[in-house]
Symmetry: C2
Subunit: 311 residues, 2 copies
């Protein structure tokens, strides 16, 4: 496998399906995830270990995660809302979990029914769980700072709040920090400013950024994040997700378009665009009636397009 | 009127309608252009003085241009394919024309039935027309270098070809140069590289950039152009246009999304978003069945959004 310049972390099976009304059959999820891995995506967030009573889509989280872990050459991530979710994930053998920590108090209470500081305490409990395991069973913990660029409930989110959470997460000893524009409020100038500030605060522990395309700025924000030194970007096949508060507005950054943009820019992603479009067909067949976005799937690559090559 | 940081040149009535099958009634065009001007757009490209036998949409170019010139506080531009078009535009009183010059030989022959050098000769004839007029009737000439980032017919377009045309256009004494990604091939790294090179070649005569959103990279390319020093960007309301070679793929950069992005970044455009969305309603009513794009029109502005303010 060739080296990559930017890691794309596919979050469609988690963030995308979380916001899709239709239950995707477990076998279709497996086939889709296998196709995503076969296309060369180096990391896939495959499910959420949330209480299935809250989100029925993830009733099959254990089966999906267990299957995904059998796939070669791909890092499997699970989202967990709390310690209990982390315990379930670890039991299945997941080696990388993501814990959302809202920068907005209002969003934190709405999303995980805890204050921001209570959720930081939950992070500490998950770190303790990690540290209690024998070295060969330890998992990586990403603290995902959500609503970092603004919140539909609270409105503006002070940058100082994001910096404080990032610093605390590192102090608690999360392995890495991701900064997320959960509701599609970010703009490129803000992305460069905030991510540079976070980087100044926690250095290389700032690993990833997560943007939504609610207002069409997703790819521009990805470029800004790269300029700020981020080397891992979340995206979702077909932009799957959509924000329930903005019907018709696409959700996550669209994986296909992101891969095309980065490869065009000479940044290697390790992803094969033709195989990626094959994976999209599996998704479309499995979720009839869902909203699928993406320009590349319609327009194709330009004449003479070549993937980024090793220098 | 407050100062602006980035000028948005609305090209929907020209580039958008040129690629729309439905004829927009003349009165609707006037009402739409008036609404665009009322929203604060500082420049509008209102028509093409092309042979109406070639593009029926512009059979009413004289009437539309004459009406547009009565609107206050807005610069009116017309596209002309050749000297004859320039003569017609000048007769109506248009003070700013745009002449396309393809960087791709294949596209040049297909678009204006001339070689690149023959079209540069046409520019020289239009410059002579301008210089023959009394000072108070002279018009501004923009040389619009099309297919500058690649071509659906030719494939790759060497940067040296773009630089040569830019230098020649300035030598011939065009007032300004615009660089266009006619078919949606550009990526942000290429935009920064090429526009910086053009700027090094012709300095401040590089005025504008024109991007299509065929592969979803329109806004990211706009940010890259600004980083390269460009201060005027073309866009089209609702992304109107669409490329006939890529059905379903949106055409020009979407004006509403561009205004939102720039204002969010603290860059003043002079455009009122609410009035812009009013203008969109006029467009939608006048072209039933056409493809309308845009995230902002669906998602609205974020909670607490404020326009960029004078520093």
């Amino acid at each position: 496998m060739s080296a990559i310049d930017i890691q794309i972390s596919e979050v469609g099976p988690r963030d995308g399906l979380q916001n899709t009304r239709i239950f995707m059959p477990t076998d279709a999820k497996k086939a889709w995830i296998a196709a995503l891995a076969a296309a060369g995506l180096p990391e896939i967030e495959v499910c959420s270990f949330v209480n299935p009573k809250m989100i029925a889509q993830f009733a099959d989280a254990v089966e999906v995660a267990a299957y995904s872990l059998t796939l070669p050459d791909v890092s499997i991530v699970a989202l967990v809302p709390n310690l209990k979710g982390a315990e379930r994930a670890v039991e299945v053998g997941v080696r990388r979990i993501s814990l959302p920590i809202s920068a907005s108090e209002a969003h934190s209470r709405s999303n995980v029914r805890k204050s921001v500081d209570e959720q930081l305490d939950e992070l500490a409990r998950i770190v303790a769980l990690r540290n209690s395991l024998p070295t060969d069973r330890r998992f990586q913990i990403t603290a995902g700072i959500s609503t970092a660029f603004g919140c539909t409930l609270q409105g503006e989110v002070p940058e100082a709040d994001v910096l404080r959470i990032a610093a605390r997460a590192v102090e608690i000893d999360a392995d890495s920090v991701s900064v997320a524009d959960t509701v599609g409020y970010a703009n490129p100038a803000q992305v460069r400013r905030l991510l540079s500030a976070v980087r100044a605060e926690i250095g290389g522990r700032l690993e990833a950024a997560h943007f939504h395309n609610t207002r069409g700025l997703g790819l521009a924000n990805c470029v800004a994040a790269i300029e700020a030194g981020v080397r891992s970007l979340d995206s979702s096949m077909a932009g799957l997700g959509g924000c329930p508060y903005a019907p018709g507005a696409s959700g996550n950054v669209i994986t296909e378009d992101l891969v095309f943009m980065l490869e065009s820019m000479g940044l290697r992603t390790g992803v094969d665009i033709a195989k990626l479009l094959d994976a999209r067909k599996i998704l479309e067949a499995a979720l009839p009636g869902a909203d699928f976005y993406g320009h590349l799937a319609k327009a194709g690559v330009p004449k003479g397009f070549a993937r980024a090559e090793a220098a």
